[in-house]
Subunit: 650 residues, 2 copies
């Protein structure tokens, strides 16, 4: 097979058509009724019995001949002789003759001879009239003023007239044998299970879920739960379980194959095995050069390559073909790219094969919260986050932390497709977002700023918040741009923001040292004067700003230049993004002193040298004050000060 035959990239529409042309359909499963919910019938189900299977009393009361009640009313009840009783689940052992009645319970079989029933509420019981031996039908006109009715009497006084069939459900009236009950393609919901139950059917033929095998490649991948050797560049395999969950969302059955590493013989073996056992094989990360060679070899031996390369970003190296009797799609290795290509090209084909329609909630409309420029001239899948503004309208913003970042997967709610001719999306442009999962909803609160431990505890009390730990400076900028609901800022900030303060608290900050402070660190002077390895935070963080201010004062005190002082600190320029990271370097023995919070030191059982207290403020976008999530946050801040206290954690 010649790799060069695919010189031109396919269009996204061609890729969609090619995948649609592959048959992913599994066979037929026979599943018990208890497991049929959500499955799709492959063939029509006809009733093969009548429901009910007998003429059935609809109420508690008396079975009788309708003719015996003609003309009866409250003033002149009909008197019938009680000749027996029949309960639900019993075969009647008595016939109802003229002038006779049988006590009958709801659901019981109508006794022979009876053609109607009267509910107990319209009757009374009475002792037999002693006047004569005439039939009760004849007695009726003469005994209107007889003794008081009695509950346990053996006559029945019927205070209404009924027509034949009244209060009786005839055999087959609900469902008749031979009727079409459910059509092929019916997706089985609880009510359909009700109808199948009524027909006594306890196993139904449904479409087998398409079996979708996942083969991940790359020597560096380790399955979650196993040990990771970061020094050797190992990372956890993100795509396998993520795509597996996407497959299940789409109605397929995911099969994870053992990780093939970069051993090409092993990869070839796994691909062949997966093709044997599945309706569709997905590989991820196998668009790299060496893996592609293996895929080509396997396809050459027992398949057909239909497409290599799609004019789309991300996803350009996508492969589509057939491996033996299985369909094959090669996905990108980066999680966000893999998820977007899966969502756009593969999930619809799985749903089609499973007979599961795309849920209405799988897409939402919104308008761009910010402008977005894109000039590459290729069809683009843009990962986006959702939020709601103060009026409840949905806003959409691009999420891009770099294609290798798994957090952009967690921070994105879906994707927007942008055609090649669009190079600029104005803020306010209406877009349609394909959600990564139909259950995804915009967060109730969208915050940015410090990853403050106290604020983190507060978030735990809220329903579905999103908080991006971008640090103080970027948070102030983003709040000014109007996207987030709330910014959490720490330490001194340059200028005033047009924002509403929801609450403020303080936190103790300083130097985190080894347990027991074996180096006897007392303050900044030790960092400057001694040979200690320090770890700093990035300049985005509030702690860094406070440290800089304190150092400035320290330098002034000593009558020295700030720059001189900073240069004397070993590691001052190494700033870490996350608030606990410096302390963890101390634990790892890679540093002696770290910038951090007392709370962090306490929690990690490290020593702490206090440098000061720092203000932390939660500021809200003034347009979002009435948004329920913002109101909830304000209330939590006002009513739960203990949440913010250092000693309240864990």
């Amino acid at each position: 097979m010649d790799r060069k035959e695919f010189r031109d990239l396919a269009t996204p529409a061609e890729a969609q058509e090619t995948i649609a042309s592959l048959s992913l359909e599994g066979g037929i499963d026979r599943v018990p009724l208890a497991e049929a919910r959500g499955r799709v019938l492959v063939s029509r189900i006809d009733a093969d019995l009548d429901v009910p299977g007998f003429d059935r009393a609809s109420l508690d009361g008396y079975a009788l001949r309708a003719r015996d009640t003609f003309g009866a009313d409250e003033a002149e009840p009909a008197r019938l002789e009680l000749v027996g009783e029949v309960h639900a689940g019993e075969e009647p052992d008595i016939d109802v003759g003229e002038g006779e009645a049988v006590e009958i319970s709801t659901g019981a079989v109508m006794p022979p001879g009876a053609d109607a029933m009267v509910p107990v509420e319209r009757t009374d019981r009475a002792e037999p009239d002693s006047t004569d031996g005439a039939s009760s039908a004849e007695r009726r006109s003469t005994d209107g003023h007889a003794a008081e009715p009695r509950d346990d009497g053996t006559d029945v006084l019927v205070r209404t007239s009924v027509a034949p069939g009244d209060n009786v459900m005839f055999a087959g009236a609900d469902v008749a044998a031979g009727e079409r009950a459910l059509g092929p393609g019916t997706r089985i919901t609880p009510r359909d299970i009700g109808l199948l139950s009524a027909l006594g059917i306890e196993e139904v033929p449904v479409r087998a879920r398409p079996r979708v095998g996942i083969v991940s490649t790359g020597d560096e991948l380790v399955r979650p739960g196993e040990d990771l050797d970061a020094d050797s560049g190992e990372i956890y395999d993100v795509n396998s379980y993520t795509i597996a969950a996407g497959i299940e969302d789409a109605g397929g059955e995911a099969v994870l194959y053992p990780h093939a590493g970069d051993d090409t013989a092993e990869l070839e073996r796994v691909l062949r095995e997966a093709a044997d056992e599945c309706d569709l094989v997905l590989s991820s990360g196998s668009t790299s050069a060496s893996a592609v060679d293996v895929v080509y070899r396997v396809i050459e031996a027992q398949g057909e390559l239909l497409l290599h390369g799609v004019s789309i970003k991300p996803g350009k190296p996508m492969l589509v073909g057939r491996l033996a009797d299985s369909a094959y799609v090669g996905l990108p290795g980066y999680p966000v790219s893999a998820m977007m290509i899966f969502r756009t090209f593969v999930a619809p084909a799985i749903r089609e094969a499973a007979g599961v329609p795309e849920p209405d909630t799988a897409t939402v409309s919104g308008s761009m919260a910010v402008a977005e420029r894109y000039t590459e001239g290729r069809h683009r899948l843009m990962p986006v986050g959702l939020l709601t503004d103060g009026d409840g309208e949905t806003l959409v913003y691009p999420v891009d932390k770099g294609s290798g970042a798994t957090t952009s997967l967690a921070e994105a709610d879906g994707l927007v497709e942008i055609d090649p001719d669009t190079d600029y999306l104005e803020a306010g442009t209406d877009v349609t977002v394909s959600l990564f999962s139909p259950e995804v909803r915009p967060p109730t609160l969208f915050g940015v700023g410090e990853d403050d431990p106290a604020f983190g505890r507060l978030l735990d009390r809220l329903e579905n918040p999103r908080h991006l730990s971008v640090g103080t400076r970027p948070a102030a900028r983003r709040l000014r741009d109007g996207v987030p609901d709330v910014a959490v800022l720490a330490g001194p900030t340059d200028r005033d923001l047009d924002a509403e303060a929801l609450g403020a608290w303080t936190r103790e900050w300083g130097l985190i040292v080894r347990p027991g402070n074996p180096d006897d660190v007392e303050g900044l002077a030790d960092l400057v004067d001694r040979d200690l390895r320090f770890v700093n935070r990035t300049s985005d963080s509030g702690l860094r700003t406070s440290l800089e201010a304190t150092l400035e004062a320290f330098a002034t005190d000593r009558g020295r230049d700030r720059r001189e002082v900073v240069e004397a600190i070993d590691g001052f320029d190494l700033g870490l993004r996350a608030h606990e990271s410096p302390a963890r370097r101390v634990i790892a023995g890679e540093a002696d002193v770290a910038l951090g919070l007392r709370e962090t030191a306490d929690r990690l059982d490290l020593g702490f040298v206090r440098l000061g207290d720092q203000d932390v403020r939660a500021l809200a976008n003034p347009d979002r004050l009435e948004k329920p999530g913002v109101r909830e946050l304000r209330e939590a801040l006002e009513s739960n000060p203990a949440l913010l206290a250092d000693d309240a954690y864990r």
Copy 2:
């Protein structure tokens, strides 16, 4: 316990509050990541490792010192010495010194000494410059015009300058150890599984699904799959599996208990066992007098009755209480009533306990297609069907075949709540429908009329049609009322309808007799003159109309009165609703001759005596001609005449 303490019926709101006050929450499950989709985290998940765990190359290319590339561009590339290579999943075994580069693949660990990387596209390989032994950094300015670059050379020409950190994802840049990853209450979707995978977490603590036990009572109930004795009044148990599916829809785990019959000791034992094992026990049909006594006894011994009787229709005898540590709700026995009470009162409590929000698709808005009157002065749950009109708007119509009918469950899509003060809903009134399941969708085509076998085959080709077999006469009336899309009418009809004919076909009708026609039936004369037992169809059916017309002609031929002729036929007045039912009576030996179709006789291997051909017509509501389902039907009728042929079935 005094049953009389509940003299006043509770309001629906009180019932809702009472059920909400019961705790249905289960404990905590620890589930593997592969099974975590859709579950709800009980506690926050913090990162306990950096992602990535090392400084990671973002692209294929060369790791180097950024400083060595300063000033490099296409015209004057920087020349570096290639000193080694590092692949993904390998620990680097080489340091990068000044003027040196290491070949690196995407995802590999940055070797010590390197602080940036350059993608391979911006480089070339070249033979070492032979001019002198100076470092490559020094050589750069002098060798711009050296030999052509070669792929396998041991020098690297870098045609761009990079800054420290370019094309490198630093350890923890994606997720830093100690960061808050997912909050408690997060409903896990594929993207969250991605983040958990990246953190190497393969088991998560999630809310246990509430265990909901189902206890069904009634001697007449038989589980689907078992044998049914209709003569003893047995029917299949509809509620158990239907409610079980509703429980699973709401995020609970359904536990079916063995059927207790009406044996009170056994019912008591089962109730106690279910209360022991479940968070909520539901019983159905146990609001009947004898079962209620048992429930009272069990509750008296080890629980508390909180509510008996709700002012609602259906559902008035609902019971709510506690059984030992379990919550308890007694549901009505009739399937539609049980489903509506479950949907309205019980499902929200299960969802709350499971942490599963009500899907947006669980309710839809629509307008009443017909007027509805209701004067009982009680809060009402009205089962309704949905359809879409020609403009795609949702119409809502009441479904009520009697509370005992399981088919009304299958024909209803949800329920509308009507408050006690509303006694009349005008056609066009806007209503909100609570769907029986979030997957329920309006049918694509709503037909009424004959249960014609040919039309049934045609329906099998359409996606999600609904057809109610009401017979020809009621279908004509309903089409005039404007509710259905299509009516299927057979035989002569009285008057013209304002409707568009979509298609017509004929079917052969006559008398169905035992195989081989042992009674030598030749036509109507045999029914009139001989002692044969006949089974008719109801007067709603088109076949009945054709039979009446033929009899009329027969009577005229003989010079006799129609009534005389009819009275001479034994069983003429017994009309069965469904088209196959009369033939099945012949099979059962309960009749000698049945009215029916040749197709039915052939399929059931019975004899057939032809009386004529009958026209069948599919007529469409003129307002719905552009509705996709109607268009699809018309196309199917026009293009698939074979579907309608008698010999095309099965």
